[in-house]
């Protein structure tokens, strides 16, 4: 494991180009606790230094404007907040983030307006979703060359706001001519706004949506159920095109654990993006440790991840 010296990391001021709350489209959703509770936001930034070289799965460490706009959390946010890059346009020099408003940091970011300027560090994350031979995933699988994208069937599995980094991944895989299938899981109808950006993506070979709460146009249940079905149909799929299959996933930990189990059962390679709370974001504080099956047991989400080979994560134990 080499120590990365973050030499290529950029820190600077990024102008907000777009800042909007994602409102559910279509007829107003019926009332439910979860509908009321969740609020999603999209933030566009002018950051050519990032847009030109970010890899899918990498994140930005964003300094949130001080002061919780709701006044609920005195003295917060203090630390930067990690947010995945949702999309990037190297020509325009812009990047986008898609986040759920959860606390003072994301609330402060949601209150920004176009023209505001944010202090950003990135792109960060030594382990991205491996797409081409240039992507060097970390850990046990370091050095392994990912399959040639042209022959690849990529199954992208996203749960809730975990769909955010999968858009850039789908775009990059699509450009590399992989066959891209997206399985999206959200809680309820109001959360379908998280899936909308994928409809605009050219050349997806499939997009299947599951909602926990029954919703027209979506399958009832969990996204892991979709993956189980997809994997069970693989032998047929492979009969048509015997290309390798790779699963890429981001979402809540229980979902990732299940994805990992299913992929292992099917003998399919899987990559997962995991979260831990962060302070420095650059490997200095050792705050974002995740338990792995390797030795030594802890690896750093900011430096070695956030994407790890699914088999490398220790899913058991007392951790939530």
């Amino acid at each position: 494991m080499g120590v990365s010296d973050n030499k290529g990391t950029w820190r600077g001021r990024a102008e907000v180009t777009d800042s909007r709350r994602l409102a559910p489209s279509g007829p107003a959703a019926g009332y439910s606790e979860s509908n009321q509770a969740r609020s999603y936001h999209r933030l566009g930034l002018k950051a050519p230094e990032v847009a030109g070289r970010v890899r899918p799965g990498q994140f930005l460490h964003v300094l949130c404007p001080p002061g919780d706009p709701r006044g609920h959390s005195p003295g917060r946010p203090l630390l930067r907040r990690p947010l995945s890059v949702h999309d990037a346009d190297p020509q325009a020099g812009t990047v986008e983030m898609l986040f759920e408003v959860r606390g003072p940091g994301t609330a402060a970011l949601a209150a920004t307006l176009p023209g505001d300027v944010l202090d950003v560090v990135g792109p960060l994350g030594g382990g991205c979703f491996p797409v081409s031979g240039d992507d060097r995933p970390s850990g046990a699988t370091a050095g392994r060359t990912p399959p040639e994208p042209r022959s690849l069937t990529a199954i992208l599995v996203g749960g809730g706001v975990g769909l955010a980094p999968l858009l850039l991944l789908a775009r990059v895989l699509g450009t590399a001519r992989a066959r891209v299938r997206v399985l999206a899981g959200v809680a309820s109808r109001a959360d379908l706004v998280l899936v909308e950006p994928f409809y605009a993506l050219p050349g997806l070979s499939g997009l299947v949506v599951a909602t926990e709460e029954r919703t027209a146009g979506a399958e009832p249940g969990l996204v892991a159920d979709l993956l189980a079905r997809e994997l069970s149909e693989l032998p047929g799929l492979r009969g048509v095109d015997p290309g390798p299959v790779v699963v890429y996933a981001c979402g809540p930990r229980p979902m990732l654990r299940e994805v990992s189990r299913l992929a292992r059962g099917a003998g399919v390679e899987a990559w997962v993006s995991v979260e831990e709370r962060m302070a420095c974001g650059v490997g200095a504080c050792r705050g974002c440790a995740v338990r792995t099956t390797g030795r030594p047991p802890y690896r750093l989400v900011c430096r070695d991840g956030p994407v790890f080979a699914a088999g490398e994560i220790d899913w058991g134990g007392a951790e939530p």
């Binding site: 010296d5 917060r76 203090l78 202090d119 420095c280």
Partner: protein, 330 residues
């Protein structure tokens, strides 16, 4: 004329009085590219132990009001790896290197001190007897003046390098503790390490940190840290290094006025990687505005009982340059 930021004390020579706080700057390399390492007064590395330490179960950190709690558990790759890889790289970066030392037993502290004694490029050792996040070592020594005395005496025997002892705020009589470690041979004392604190997730009804409690740092602790520096600087004869919640040059000047010869910046660096350089620049601005020619003239001015060691000026012919003032994009 540009104010002189250089200080020399306890065998250390620093071109600015601002160093990094142990555990918040890794081994320097992590921040290369985000700040000019050679412009930092001194780089204090993460605690180094004889053998690699795994660290604690996650979650290890959580933000709190104007601060954060950490329970890292002194994760570090151990002495051998530090000497082979981390130290040579950092020494080549050009900043003086201070090695923070941790152990489970006095023997381990002594062994690490001995091994570092001859290591090229080490400017000083900082004995961490104040970490609240490990079962053995750390606070087990630092909260008991007699245990602290024994440990510092053992290290003193093993090294001729300047020996800084880092004190915990989690005691009732920090000045008494400071005196004992000076009796045992400390060349300087640094404080404060983190204050024991905790946060509870009311939804799950459990402590947020896996280990229950952790150490509080950041602006929330600054007034406490300042009072402790003030008390220690009136009790010991050696120089004091002050830290705890320093965010701006003004904060740093408060610590200097309380009696610190130098300061360290920790949590602020997570937010602003250039903080150790920025703060030095802000101190220089303060000095210029108030007509001070040298930063050492601030030391202890607000402390009537001040009797701690003072810094001296770096010799005029000294090649170390004042190289502060990084920008946002550096």
């Amino acid at each position: 004329m540009r104010p002189d930021l250089g200080v020399a004390f306890a065998g250390l020579r620093m071109k600015t009085p601002v160093m990094t706080a142990s555990g918040t700057f890794g081994y320097g390399r992590e921040y290369a590219g985000l700040v000019n390492l050679s412009a930092i007064g001194a780089i204090v590395v993460k605690g180094v132990s004889l053998e690699p330490w795994e660290g604690n179960r996650p979650p290890r950190i959580i933000e709190t009001a104007s601060g954060m709690l950490n329970s890292i558990g002194l994760e570090n790759p151990g002495l051998e790896r530090f000497l082979e890889a981390d130290l040579p790289w950092l020494v080549s970066s050009g900043a003086p290197v201070i090695v923070n030392v941790v152990g489970r037993t006095p023997t381990e502290y002594r062994e690490v001190a001995r091994a570092l004694d001859g290591a090229p490029g080490v400017a000083a050792l900082e004995a961490n007897i104040s970490c609240p996040n490990v079962e053995e070592g750390g606070l087990a020594f630092g909260a008991d003046p007699e245990a602290a005395y024994g440990l510092v005496a053992a290290m003193r025997e093993a090294t001729s390098l300047p020996l800084i002892v880092k004190l915990t705020p989690n005691v009732t009589d920090v000045a008494g503790l400071a005196k004992r470690v000076v009796d045992a041979g400390a060349d300087a004392v640094s404080l404060i390490n983190t204050l024991v604190g905790m946060a509870i997730d009311v939804e799950s009804g459990r402590a947020v940190l896996a280990r229950g409690t952790g150490g509080l740092s950041g602006p929330a602790v600054k007034p406490v840290a300042l009072a402790m520096v003030y008390r220690v600087a009136a009790a010991v004869s050696v120089p004091v290094i002050g830290m705890g919640g320093i965010w701006t040059g003004r904060d740093a000047v408060e610590f200097l006025m309380a009696g610190a010869s130098a300061v360290a910046v920790g949590t602020a660096t997570f937010v602003d990687p250039s903080a150790p350089v920025r703060i030095a620049g802000e101190i220089a601005e303060f000095l210029a505005r108030r007509g001070y020619g040298w930063v050492g003239d601030l030391v202890g001015v607000a402390n009537p009982g001040f009797r701690a060691g003072r810094p001296s000026r770096l010799a005029d012919e000294d090649p170390v340059r004042n190289n502060q003032g990084g920008t946002l994009d550096d």
